[in-house]
């Protein structure tokens, strides 16, 4: 081989190498940049740590488990979870109908040897939970197992036929969050398609009526005429059966034939198990002659055992409905302004809104990484019903019909309602007596926050079976025509008896705070007002019974149009004079209470322009009530129309920080953010570790850390600790929060896991294993790869009406989190069941805020004993999935405070819940994070001390940096590296233009640290422990690859250079071509 040949080979080789390594090097550089942008998320997904802790050897003998488990191993934790998952169904499942046959109720089934045939494909695939972030795992006790465990013999041939034909006839529903594609078919086989086993003789034929629900889409009502899903036009629909919450033609066909066989003596009875968090219209129950109906919700992994025990009578049903169960949903006025309100994307109104969006927002809509915002931030959802939602509508209008006032029209209660809120039957009977009410003035006890009424009632089991009774206390406030709107009744407290044997009795005590008597007046006093007039307290079995009792006290009877006579012995009435002063300040914090939601009310918003709204008023029902659906399931579009104004456009721009970007650096900030001295950064005066600020006594002495004397939130020690943080550490902490809060090494704050879900922990016990500090990992438990049991929907938890049970239920959730290394739970879902069609209703509790707040509060309290905190979500006015990402929500302040925020108020002020997650929606034009109410209401009025996290940051209708100024502390996601650069101090010494903003950032850090230090995240940490930031192995690998390909690229360049030099004549002198 001669020199010329070698030159040629060198030249060709170097060209090939240069080509290859140029591509590789360039690709790795770009890929590396993208990977580093998402470093935390990738590290979590790979389970690789970004910090390490070096333990203080002197502290290892100390007990550093600030929050202890009651169990030694995961097996026992899970078994306890199974007990509670079943218990809440035991007590929450609600018996709604139980007809007599031959003088005896059809339920319970005979205690031994009962035979049943199960109908519907759902009998083999019942709904356990929901879909999306709140969805549960896969653990499942089948209905067959549940019934057989209770000694009930199941028609196996029919069951196996359904099992084998699920693929053909089963229902369909998209699996994940924000499902895309076809969904929502009820499916099922017609009667003729069923095998002969359907005719087998049985004591009962049970039809399992199931409906799914989930994140990202509301349930559908498919309008066959215009081929439109009227409640969720975001998603493609393949629901041919019409209204998803009506029984389908196929289901009606099967039920009709079941009843026929019953009439022919083949079945002893026909029972419907409604297995859905979203109640189906119940007109068919009486129309078809169904004998018994039991609501079991979406019942979790253990619910089948409960169903068996309830059917055979081993457990006596004691659940009470947490929602109104409608006979016809189209008579619910909420639907006029629920779901998709336009005629789709081509609607001129949608286009008007699209045009109205500032250009910066248009840019950002996509930058957020969630296309939903593009579709959603053009729609307006108006809570036109005001406070008249659920039973507050049905019972109030009913009362006005009876009292012949308020132009109530020809409203017929039982045309609309099948079973009222609070309703539920038992296998025994209870009698209420000895109602006693005592007024306790605030002055009588200096520790009393407010005056109160203490109510006692005696409940006696007068039937033949042992059972529990949930007792409800309702209040009626005086309505003055044209004045503040008042519901006929409001639930104010409740209690549940212990198990009462036949003949036994118990006395229950309930309380009503003085402020419960007040109503919020947004237009006059701008505060809580106790109106002059007569107030009624009544103990009742349900909301309708409560109104009937009060009407009885007003000397009304069925002759006046009442559906049933009431019991005036269960009513206590008293008079009050007008009081506008007492509740001008918060009973929880003492701070002033005034309007905070003028920008959400089209009557008060200064940018409303020509837009008008008329809320439902009991002053004139006929004029103000609108309906969203016609009886034939077509949409009325009789809704409130909101058109964009210039002020709205300006506010929208403010919400998005002028840059229209969720995670970008804002250019439009509130004036108050500017100016002011900067806080201190990087102080070395002290060297505190976070755990030192946990409690005044470092060591656990009584085994219950909740009893430790905490270092107060406003203790000066916190200033010292916060002074230690550098600007960079502060920015790092606030910039990323996707299911975590980042470690701050210099102050000993570890990485913390906050994770899903809305109705109970649903992550693996080694979730985010790289930073996991849970007992399962630390003890290397053999079951650490498993997940908690599937907990039932929260609606059925609320239906227990059992405070004590829910406290222990919360302790169990806390155990799951303690073992899974989760300190914070993105839940519980505390939005309201405004409509039965809400996609995430399975995560939410009820249509009633007091029931929700108390049940969630008890659960929160239980969780806190295991060092778990909850992000109550999605705060606030996020009751629907359609247009949830940036959709503009409008409501009056009275309804916001008395209904939609009331549950948060109870959970925070009465039970110490610390954290919230903001809704993705906007309140008026402002994203929830920038509206301001996190500070002005949740913190100032309710006393919340913990942090607020956004829902998925990239989908929120606001700029995160601006949101920090308004009290939003962490993003559920990440923001740009430069998001806070505008406020960066010129030097660490603390000079700059945005001192006030820097203080807001620091206060966010304070809240994060205060929350974390009182959580199980600190378990195992001693003051002397040191946290160091480390580079995860994958980052090292990527960097190494970049270096190697960079070197090879460089060598190729050199080789080509040499080659060119050797061939310089050809290259530079116009020589020959190769």
């Amino acid at each position: 081989m001669n020199f010329e040949s070698l030159k040629k080979i060198l030249h060709l080789t170097s060209k090939i190498c240069l080509t290859v390594f140029t591509f590789l090097f360039a690709l790795l550089m770009v890929a590396g940049a993208i990977l580093m942008e998402n470093k935390d998320t990738i590290s979590q997904a790979l389970g690789q740590a970004t910090t390490v802790t070096v333990k203080d050897p002197d502290a290892q003998s100390k007990d550093l488990e600030y929050y202890k488990s009651a169990f030694d191993n995961l097996k026992d934790v899970k078994n306890n979870g199974r007990v509670y998952a079943e218990s809440v169904v035991d007590e929450g499942a609600t018996l709604l109908k139980n007809s007599d046959k031959d003088g005896k109720p059809v339920l319970p089934l005979k205690s031994e040897g009962a035979t049943v045939s199960l109908f519907s494909t759902s009998s083999v695939s019942p709904i356990l939970s929901g879909t999306g972030s709140g969805g549960g795992g896969t653990e499942n006790v089948s209905l067959l197992e549940g019934l057989e465990d209770a000694g009930i013999a199941v028609n196996k041939e029919l069951y196996e036929w359904y099992d084998g034909n699920q693929g053909k006839y089963g229902r369909k529903w998209p699996a994940g969050s924000g499902g895309v594609g076809k969904f929502a078919t009820v499916g099922d086989a017609t009667w003729d398609q069923l095998p002969d086993a359907k005719n087998k003789k049985a004591d009962a034929a049970i039809f399992v009526l199931s409906r799914s629900g989930g994140e990202g889409m509301d349930l559908t009502s498919y309008n066959k005429d215009n081929k439109m899903n009227v409640f969720g036009s975001n998603y493609e629909v393949d629901y041919k059966d019409g209204n998803y919450l009506k029984i389908s033609d196929t289901e009606r066909d099967v039920l009709t034939n079941m009843c026929r066989l019953r009439n022919e003596g083949v079945f002893g009875s026909v029972i419907v198990l409604m297995n859905s968090a979203n109640p189906v219209e119940l007109e068919f129950i009486d129309a078809l002659g169904i004998d018994a109906l039991m609501w079991v919700g979406s019942y979790g992994s253990q619910g089948a055992y409960a169903v068996g025990e309830l059917l055979n009578g081993n457990i006596n049903p004691s659940g009470k409905l947490s929602d109104t169960f409608w006979k016809h949903h189209y008579l619910n006025p909420v639907l006029a302004n629920f779901g998709s309100l336009t005629n789709g994307a081509e609607d001129p109104l949608v286009n008007q809104w699209r045009q109205a969006r500032p250009a910066a927002i248009q840019n950002a809509i996509n930058a957020g990484g969630n296309g939903d915002i593009h579709n959603d931030s053009v729609e307006n959802i108006v809570y036109q019903e005001g406070i008249y939602m659920g039973y507050r509508y049905t019972e109030t209008r009913y009362e006005d019909v009876v009292l012949n006032r308020g132009n109530a029209g020809d409203f017929k209660y039982y045309d609309a309602v099948s079973y009222p809120f609070g309703y539920g039957l038992s296998y025994t009977k209870f009698a209420y007596s000895d109602l006693k009410v005592q007024y306790v003035p605030k002055e009588s006890d200096r520790n009393l926050k407010d005056s109160k009424y203490v109510v006692q009632v005696t409940v006696k089991n007068t039937g033949g079976a042992a059972g529990k009774e949930a007792v409800q206390l309702y209040l009626q406030k005086p309505y003055i025509a044209g004045g503040i709107e008042k519901s006929a009744v409001d639930l104010v407290d409740f209690g549940k008896t212990p198990l009462l044997e036949p003949g036994a009795s118990a006395t229950l005590t309930m309380e009503v705070d003085g402020r419960d008597l007040a109503s919020y007046d947004a237009y006059g006093a701008k505060g809580y007002v106790v109106d002059e007039g007569t107030y009624y307290l009544t103990v009742a079995t349900d909301a309708h019974n409560a109104v009937n009792n009060i009407l009885a006290a007003k000397e009304k009877t069925t002759a006046d149009g009442m559906t049933e006579n009431g019991n005036k012995a269960m009513v206590y009435s008293f008079a009050k004079t007008k009081d506008v002063d007492t509740y001008k300040v918060s009973t929880a914090t003492g701070k002033t209470v005034t309007n905070q939601f003028d920008n959400a009310d089209l009557k008060l918003y200064d940018g409303a322009g020509d837009n008008e709204i008329e809320y439902i008023s009991r002053n004139d029902w006929e004029k103000t009530v609108k309906y969203g659906l016609n009886e034939d399931n077509t949409r009325t579009y009789d809704r409130v129309i909101v058109k964009p104004t210039e002020k709205m456009k300006e506010d929208l721009d403010k919400s998005w920080g002028g840059v229209g970007s969720c995670g970008g650096q804002p250019t439009l900030l509130p004036e108050e953010a500017k100016g002011g001295e900067y806080p201190t950064f990087g102080s070395t005066k002290t060297a505190y570790s976070l755990v030192m600020l946990r409690a005044k006594t470092e060591e656990v002495d009584d085994g219950d850390p909740t009893n430790d004397e905490w270092i107060a939130y406003d203790d000066p020690l916190w200033d010292d600790l916060l002074d230690q943080m550098t600007w960079k550490e502060l920015v790092d902490l606030l910039s990323y929060g996707q299911r975590t809060s980042r470690a701050v090494a210099s102050i000993g704050k570890p990485d913390v896991i906050d994770h899903n879900g809305g109705n109970g922990p649903n992550q693996s016990y080694t979730v985010m294993s790289g930073i996991n500090n849970g007992l399962a990992k630390r003890k290397d438990d053999p079951m650490k790869g498993e997940s908690p049991v599937v907990y039932p929907c929260n609606g059925i938890v609320a239906s227990t009406f059992n405070k004590e049970l829910c406290y222990y239920y919360g302790c169990q959730w806390g155990e799951d989190m303690l073992w899974a290394g989760m300190a914070g739970l993105y839940g519980m879902g505390l939005n309201t069941h405004r409509s039965a069609y809400g996609g995430r209703n399975f995560e939410y509790y009820s249509e009633d805020p007091v029931l929700m707040g108390v049940i969630a509060g008890e659960t929160t309290k239980g969780m806190a004993t295991r060092g778990a905190y909850v992000y109550l979500k999605h705060c606030v006015l996020n009751e629907q999935e359609t247009y949830r990402c940036g959709g503009f929500t409008w409501a009056n302040e009275q309804s916001i405070r008395e209904i939609y925020l009331r549950s948060y108020e109870i959970a925070i002020a009465d039970y110490g819940a610390q954290c919230v997650m903001g809704g993705l929606n906007s309140i008026g034009m402002m994203g929830t994070g920038v509206q301001g109410f996190f500070n002005t209401v949740l913190r100032d009025e309710y006393g919340m001390t913990g942090l607020a996290v956004t829902d998925t940051t990239s989908a929120m209708g606001a700029n995160f940096a601006v949101a920090v100024f308004y009290g939003n502390d962490l993003p559920d996601g990440g923001v740009n590296d430069d998001a806070f650069d505008f406020a960066k101090p010129v030097s660490e010494g603390g000079k700059g233009e945005y001192g006030n903003f820097a203080w807001a950032m620091r206060e966010s850090a304070h809240r994060i640290l205060y929350t974390v230090v009182h959580s199980n995240a600190m378990n195992g940490f001693a003051a002397g422990d040191k946290i160091y930031t480390v580079t995860p192995p994958w980052v090292t690998m990527v960097t190494a690859l970049q270096i190697v390909t960079g070197i090879l690229f460089g060598l190729s360049v050199v080789a080509l250079g040499v080659s060119v030099f050797l061939n310089r004549k050809e290259f530079f002198c116009g020589g020959k071509q190769e």
């Binding site: 360039a26 690709l27 248009q362 840019n363 809509i365 296309g371 116009g1070 020959k1072």
Partner: protein, 160 residues
């Protein structure tokens, strides 16, 4: 004068080899891609993903591709310059636009997701692949024909 110029042009193309036409194609496609990209991402809905750096690189690729091809001393560097700059443009395009893809294909790479992808992305991706393929291939191809009268050690001109 005109005749002389026409002869020179004629002679220029007469002496061009396959590589030249590959390079020229790459330059022309780069120009088309540049126009489509600028138009498509000028849409208010997609401007967020617009990459100025990608445009600068593409413009440089076109300019250098033409400029370097014009002289015999530099013509062999033209395809490499086009390939390198278009590669950079493509990478900037990816870096500034990958969020779009994470959203578009969030639920999986489905036919529906592909067919509803914004045309600006689809066209850009296809064009970048074609341009990079052609320009890279051109690196290994002759840009000019070897004329018989040109001895290996001859310093004579190929063409002007």
């Amino acid at each position: 004068m005109l005749e002389k110029s026409l002869d020179a042009i004629k002679n220029f193309f007469k002496t061009r080899s396959l590589g030249f036409y590959f390079t020229a194609s790459a330059v022309v496609l780069s120009l088309i891609q540049l126009i489509i990209y600028a138009v498509a991402f000028n849409d208010i809905m997609y401007v967020q993903y617009f990459s100025t750096a990608a445009v600068v690189c593409s413009v440089l690729a076109v300019v250098l591709g033409i400029g370097l091809s014009c002289t015999k001393w530099t013509e062999q560097w033209a395809p490499a310059a086009v390939a390198a700059l278009e590669l950079l443009a493509c990478l900037f395009f990816i870096k500034d636009g990958y969020w779009y893809f994470t959203t578009q294909f969030f639920a999986g790479v489905t036919w529906k997701a592909i067919t509803t992808t914004y045309y600006g992305y689809l066209v850009s991706i296809v064009m970048f692949v074609v341009i990079l393929g052609i320009s890279t291939a051109s690196i290994y191809l002759k840009q000019s024909k070897v004329r018989k009268e040109d001895a290996p050690d001859t310093k004579a001109e190929v063409a002007v």
